[in-house]
């Protein structure tokens, strides 16, 4: 067992090939992220360009269709979505202020919570009332905002656990090693390949509990990919990940789309959203208040209102919003009203 298991820093920073100068901040990191100009990226942009940027608009090829979903906690309505369609094969960002109901919405869609009413269909198959495990087996796999690393399993075991259809996971099959040794070997190769992409291959034999917060985020995303999902739902994948790694993470997310996967992700970092998403859905107080392409939706008055309070004509994608001085001025203005 390697003895650096307690070491909690991300040592991989220097390994990021693209980063000759390690970026100081996320903004800097993002400036070096190019929107990928693959066929898939262009196709996504092209197909969505024809879609009207209005709430509940129908998409040409929706993979997920949500209808009239409501979730109330006591008197408070956490989620109240009338109609939402998620286009297949594109990156959709779900944004909104804290407490908007994004995580609750994820929980509902993936079977971790039950709505008070509503229905939704994934690839034409209604998923209301379906158990979380079945949802995942149908190809809709999610990660958690509060990471769930399986602490006392190694990083590699975390990955292998995620693979689907292993005959050794059957009680009787498990007793006969030849039945599953081959599958296990194939899965290990695949796991190592994914881990290498996330710069976690050096940690493969460490307990997942010894990873840092950011590394756990990466592991959770890597683990979700082991299931070969059709659609991956990431709840704040970038939170707590260092700028250099955010950069490669964004590349990975775009690569997933380019491989034909559908991505729905929650993110607070507007710049990340603007850089990689093909479509943005904005939630506030449980409702979807706007949707559209990233460039235009951030100038949408409803969106600016949701984030900054009413009456600002700032673009949320504006880099100046990262400046504390500007934010302080905006807040002061808001208070004066």
């Amino acid at each position: 067992m390697p003895d650096e298991t307690t070491e909690n820093k991300v040592t991989e920073v220097s390994d990021v090939p693209e980063a000759t100068d390690v970026p100081e901040s996320t903004v800097e990191a993002l400036d070096t992220v190019e929107r990928s100009d693959t066929e898939a990226a262009k196709a996504a942009e092209h197909v969505l360009a024809a879609v009207e940027p209005t709430v509940g608009v129908s998409k040409p090829d929706p993979i997920l269709v949500v209808d009239d979903v409501q979730r109330r906690f006591g008197g408070m309505t956490a989620v109240d979505v009338d109609h939402l369609e998620v286009q297949r094969g594109v990156i959709t960002a779900l944004i909104g202020p804290n407490g908007a109901g994004k995580t609750t919405f994820f929980n509902l869609l993936t079977g971790f919570d039950k709505p008070n009413q509503g229905s939704w269909a994934f690839e034409g198959k209604p998923l209301g009332g379906v158990s979380a495990a079945k949802v995942a087996r149908n190809g809709m796999v999610r990660t958690f905002q509060l990471t769930k690393a399986l602490s006392r399993l190694t990083v590699l075991q975390n990955m292998l656990l995620a693979a689907m259809g292993n005959p050794g996971e059957n009680l009787f099959g498990s007793l006969v090693k030849p039945l599953w040794a081959g599958t296990e070997k194939k899965n290990t190769e695949k796991a190592l390949e994914i881990l290498a992409r996330f710069k976690l291959d050096a940690k493969k034999d460490d307990f997942a509990g010894s990873l840092s917060g950011g590394q756990r985020k990466l592991l959770e995303m890597a683990r979700a990919l082991m299931t070969d999902p059709t659609m991956i739902m990431l709840d704040e994948p970038m939170a707590g990940v260092n700028p250099a790694l955010v950069q490669s993470l964004l590349h990975h997310i775009q690569a997933l789309r380019d491989d034909g996967m559908t991505v729905l992700f929650v993110e607070h970092d507007m710049h990340a959203v603007r850089h990689i998403s093909d479509w943005v859905v904005v939630m506030a107080e449980g409702k979807i208040v706007a949707e559209g392409p990233p460039k235009s939706v951030m100038q949408d008055q409803a969106v600016v209102d949701a984030y900054l309070g009413a009456h600002h004509d700032t673009d949320l994608g504006d880099d100046s919003l990262l400046d504390p001085a500007v934010l302080a001025r905006l807040e002061a203005e808001e208070e004066k009203r």
Binding site: T5, V141, G168, E169, S210
Partner: protein
């Protein structure tokens, strides 16, 4: 010399059938708690049910292997009944349900309603259900005796070499079985559930089904352990109550949960030291404390040991300290 007699008594405990029985019960608990994170606080209930299953079946004329299967089936059924309503809920519910269900089994065993079958509070006398087991022996028939070092028993009989041989053979089979299971992808899913069942659910595994499988297998170990436990004695419901459950827990935590040999090592050590203490007190404090008080002090020390273990060495003897260090629950 007194000392050598005390040491011989402790040595005898190392291989006693009771030690094997509790090792097997702890192996079951290890499947529950060590590998899956399930809190079964009623392992004695599984044991008592297994003992009744074997005893009653034999008395009604079942051959040995059928009675053994019935004993196993009783444990499996009990696990299914207890697991069905609780395994969907938070872990604490299983603990509460198992602790009370074990008490219910004991009460039903003592009750006069079923006296015809269970023998009521007096239980089933040893002679009534052991003949098929002893007929199975390939060792010399009684009263032939055999000695191994300072230990000497009859070859075939209640407290015999045959009972010891059989009991430890069963434990060995169980250890191999657990080894096969826990090195496999199936075992990995259990460990995943122990760490965070929602994460495992999110990866498409049917968590309820896996928890049920673990509960049933561990429960079957428990009921088989109950059968082993009564082979050298009678089936007495009051001798298989809560304290037996805590013995099994102490054994598991002493040896090390989630380790392969922890339950076996824990059981041997526990019973040897327990005997050393009691025999030592009987000899050393003769005239100061009565024999019954020695038993009471012994029981008290078991409780204190369990507490100290949980506080100071939760990983047990064979466990990995590092593994436990980031258990943030």
């Amino acid at each position: 010399m007194e000392l050598s007699r005390i040491l011989t008594q402790a040595l005898a405990e190392l291989i006693a059938p009771t030690t094997a029985a509790i090792a097997l019960a702890a192996i079951g608990l290890n499947l529950h708690f060590g590998f899956t994170g399930l809190l079964n606080m009623g392992q004695a209930g599984f044991m008592l049910l297994g003992a009744y299953g074997f005893g009653i079946a034999t008395i009604s004329g079942a051959p040995f292997w059928l009675a053994l299967l019935i004993s196993l089936a009783a444990g499996a059924l009990f696990a299914l009944i207890l697991g069905a309503p609780t395994l969907q809920l938070r872990g604490d519910y299983l603990a509460i349900v198992t602790i009370s269900a074990a008490e219910i089994i004991r009460m039903l065993g003592r009750a006069t309603v079923f006296q015809e079958y269970t023998g009521g509070a007096a239980g089933l006398t040893g002679g009534s259900f052991k003949s098929t087991f002893q007929e199975l022996s390939f060792l010399p028939a009684p009263p032939e005796r055999g000695a191994f070092g300072p230990l000497e028993y009859v070859f075939t009989g209640s407290d015999s070499w045959w009972t010891r041989l059989f009991a430890w053979a069963v434990v060995l089979i169980a250890v191999v079985f657990v080894w096969l299971l826990t090195r496999s992808p199936w075992g990995r899913v259990l460990k995943g559930i122990r760490e965070d069942e929602d994460a495992v659910r999110a990866l498409g595994k049917n968590v309820f089904s896996y928890k049920m499988q673990a509960l049933v297998l561990g429960g079957m170990c428990g009921s088989l352990a109950g059968m082993l436990y009564v082979l050298p004695r009678s089936v007495a419901p009051d001798a298989m109550g809560r304290s037996l459950t805590f013995f099994a827990w102490t054994v598991l935590l002493l040896g090390g949960a989630a380790t392969l040999f922890g339950p076996v090592l824990g059981s041997m050590l526990f019973y040897a030291v327990y005997m050393l203490l009691r025999a030592g007190m009987r000899e050393g404090l003769e005239g100061v404390v009565s024999a019954t008080m020695v038993e009471q002090i012994g029981g008290l020390l078991v409780g204190v040991t369990l507490m100290l273990l949980v506080i100071f060495r939760p990983q047990g003897i064979l466990g990995n300290k590092k593994e436990l260090a980031f258990d943030a629950r």
